[in-house]
């Protein structure tokens, strides 16, 4: 865990769970693995608060526990899973994806589960149905079956998964050691429990008559007793982050193809990715081979592409230097695969080049691209190939060198590394540079969050005042006050204060959107680095 990652994790924990959980979390990240007593002793917090913090972290999947170093007889040890804390940056993107794929119902389901960490299906369905009914106009209510079907679809496409059973939870008896854990097959992870007894229709908003009221009271009592008999006790669901990441990766590839080539090619690639969604394992370097016949059959009707034109497009994609699509055989009209790892590497490379271009100018970017392609070049060669005058080339190279984006490689002519008889070559290594940029991104997001907290703290008094006035306005409107009273209350905020509030809101919005945008870069670089590690 690098210093920037720890800092960012601390800030995220503080924002979402408070100072106590932040202290516990950052200490546990730095120490690695600790027992409960050691953690309480070192953080000097009361034991109850430490226990609660650990419960919260485990509920959200950020902390895991296991048998300690002394084996099952010793105390339980806890460790933090840092990636899951960093995923908190991406929560809005997950929710938005669920909305675009499965509508408002899907959006609310994913949002509820992200807020609560783990939930049973019945409680999720109930909460989401209540929320949807609340937003609907009078008299309408949300049918539970719709929510259940949305939930099932999310599970079928693997966006939600069951939580794995926990190992023997702290009870260090010999029985727990001897009984083997139930076989956790990957298939079980995505099976929706069939027997769920739920009220089929959510209760409406208003009670029309006393009869309805009685019926609802009886029904309400029934739901209370039914809570324990829902049929899916102990089956908790969590968001499957990996599946969402695969979806984002596919989206990135499709948009890259559409930018580089055209809309039709991107549709072909989208079809290929969709067909191989379920068959391709998560970390595969390329998708399953698909024949041109299959692709032709699977294309959406609206595109009306003739067979020879499809072949031409596929050839175009294969010959493109970005190498998104590769040809692996000739049967069935040609076997084609999408090169996932190579696509990720190209996307990361494009990101690096874009960063250099935006920070140092287009000529530095040209030198950078040159070095990426040609690997090692001498000073003179750089000037010649990049067609940049010597002095400027030198200047740019040294700037890039000082930022660590370019490295100097020594190649000795003689074994004693004499400087006059050594080649000094400039080089760029994509993977270490990507890691460097990723750390810069983490630092950037940390700075953005801190700046936002600073801005909020500076204007705390003003924010509190505006909140109070909004509360007063809300209560006045609820009790039906006159317009004159409302305007009088509104005028309690003076015009310059209103302007200050607006500019503050504008700053905070800008900082928040910047965080979202930096997170997109973080995702690309992380995916690339993870793909090289397997």
């Amino acid at each position: 865990m690098t210093a920037q990652e720890v800092r960012l994790c601390g800030l995220l924990l503080q924002e979402h769970f408070g100072d106590v959980v932040e202290k516990v979390g950052t200490h546990l990240i730095r120490s690695g693995v600790l027992t409960l007593r050691a953690l309480a002793h070192e953080t000097k917090l009361p034991l109850d608060l430490v226990k609660k913090s650990l419960c919260v972290l485990m509920q959200h999947g950020m902390c895991a526990f296991g048998a300690g170093r002394r084996g099952p007889a010793g105390p339980v040890e806890y460790h933090i899973i840092c990636e899951h804390i960093l995923h908190m940056l991406r929560y809005p993107r997950y929710i938005y994806t669920a909305k675009s794929l499965y509508g408002d119902t899907g959006e609310l389901i994913v949002e509820e589960i992200l807020q609560r960490g783990q939930m049973t299906m019945s409680s999720t369905v109930k909460t989401v149905a209540d929320r949807l009914t609340h937003n609907m106009p009078e008299g309408q209510s949300m049918d539970y079956s719709e929510v259940v079907s949305a939930f099932s679809r999310l599970v079928e496409t693997h966006f939600l998964q069951r939580c794995p059973p926990m190992a023997s939870a702290g009870s260090s008896s010999s029985e727990a050691v001897n009984t083997p854990l139930p076989v956790w097959s990957t298939r079980m992870v995505y099976i929706v429990p069939v027997k769920i007894e739920l009220m089929h229709k959510c209760q409406g908003k208003r009670r029309r008559s006393s009869e309805d009221g009685e019926a609802e009271q009886r029904a309400a009592k029934k739901t209370k007793t039914d809570n324990s008999e829902r049929g899916d006790e102990g089956i908790y669901w969590q968001v499957n982050f990996q599946r969402f990441h695969l979806h984002f990766r596919d989206q990135a590839i499709i948009s890259a193809v559409s930018c580089k080539l055209d809309q039709t090619s991107s549709e072909i690639v989208r079809t290929m990715l969709r067909m191989s969604e379920v068959t391709t394992p998560a970390h595969a370097a390329f998708t399953q081979a698909l024949s041109a016949n299959e692709i032709f059959r699977a294309l959406p009707f609206s595109y009306n592409i003739a067979r020879p034109i499809l072949d031409q497009y596929l050839t175009l994609l294969v010959n493109d230097p970005m190498e998104f699509v590769g040809r692996t055989g000739d049967s069935g009209g040609g076997m084609y695969v999408v090169n996932l790892h190579r696509a990720l590497a190209n996307l990361a490379r494009a990101t690096l080049e874009s960063v250099v271009q935006e920070r140092f100018g287009s000529r530095s970017a040209r030198i950078f691209r040159l070095l990426l392609r040609k690997r090692h070049l001498e000073q003179k060669q750089v000037e010649d190939f990049a067609m940049v005058p010597a002095k400027e080339a030198k200047d740019m190279l040294y700037t890039l060198l000082s930022e660590n984006l370019v490295q100097l490689q020594e190649i000795p002519k003689t074994p004693d590394y004499a400087p006059s008889r050594t080649f000094y070559l400039y080089t760029v290594n994509q993977l270490p540079t990507a890691r460097l940029l990723l750390q810069h991104c983490y630092k950037t997001v940390g700075n953005l969050i801190e700046r936002r907290l600073y801005e909020t703290k500076e204007n705390k008094r003003l924010l509190e005042k505006s909140q109070q006035i909004e509360a007063i306005l809300a209560s006045l409107q609820a009790t039906g006050a006159e317009a004159a009273q409302l305007t009088e209350v509104e005028e309690m905020i003076t015009a310059p204060e209103r302007q200050q509030l607006e500019s503050l809101q504008h700053h905070i919005n800008k900082l928040d959107s910047s965080e979202n945008q930096v997170d997109e870069t973080i995702f690309l670089l992380e995916s690339y680095i993870n793909s090289t590690q397997r």
């Binding site: 769970f17 609660k52 509920q59 959200h60 809005p92 935006e358 190279l397 109070q468 209560s475």
Partner: protein, 208 residues
């Protein structure tokens, strides 16, 4: 290593591209400034429906997390003044209960039973009335003694009366003094009650 061989410098900077006598940029003695001026302006943020929606989602999520029971506060926040807006800020202070089958049992917070708290308080309460009763009894006894002493000395009653009168006078004087709780003698203070008495004739003039 570079300086061996009597001043022959084996490393010439020409190899790396710096010519002889060229103007090198001045070496920096201090750390780089905190907000260095940028040569290139950063690219503007993505604006659009998607970006705005995600921004709204992010802010709502943050706000929602603060109200959930997962947001642990070290102690109940002390309010200096009861705010009007508190009525509208609902905070779920009820603790959520995790499923203990899935969490280690050692994380369970033991709740204090209220019986244990009540039992030490009960003997205290029974003690206090006893103490009060004893004090009251003692006071009554001393008062009785004083009364008996007072009634037995009837011969000195006359002497006592002037003493009492003086005491009363003193008391009256003391009362006047202590009425306003000031150090100043009352006779120096002019209430201003005599002010309006002179100007009964001239009503036309304004009274300041």
């Amino acid at each position: 290593m570079a300086g061996r061989g009597r001043g022959h410098r084996t490393f010439s900077v020409e190899i790396v591209g710096i010519g002889k006598g060229e103007n090198l940029p001045p070496s920096s003695i201090q750390p780089t400034p905190l907000f260095p001026p940028l040569d290139q302006k950063p690219v503007p943020l993505q604006a659009g429906e998607e970006a705005e929606y995600m921004l709204a989602l992010k802010q709502e999520f943050r706000g929602a997390m603060k109200t959930l029971p997962f947001y642990i506060r070290p102690a109940a926040p002390k309010k200096d003044v009861e705010r009007y807006s508190d009525k509208y800020q609902k905070i779920e202070t009820s603790d959520w209960k995790p499923d203990w089958r899935r969490f280690p049992k050692e994380l369970r917070v033991r709740e204090k039973r209220p019986l244990r708290d009540k039992s030490p308080a009960v003997p205290k309460q029974t003690k206090q009335p006893r103490v009060n009763k004893e004090e009251i009894i003692r006071k009554l006894e001393t008062l009785e003694q004083k009364e008996e002493e007072g009634s037995s000395d009837e011969e000195e009653g006359e002497k006592k009366k002037p003493e009492e009168q003086e005491a009363e006078g003193e008391e009256e004087y003391d009362e006047e003094e202590f009425e306003d709780e000031t150090d100043y003698i009352m006779s120096y203070f002019d209430n201003g009650e005599e002010f309006g008495g002179d100007s009964d004739e001239n009503i036309d003039e304004a009274v300041y």
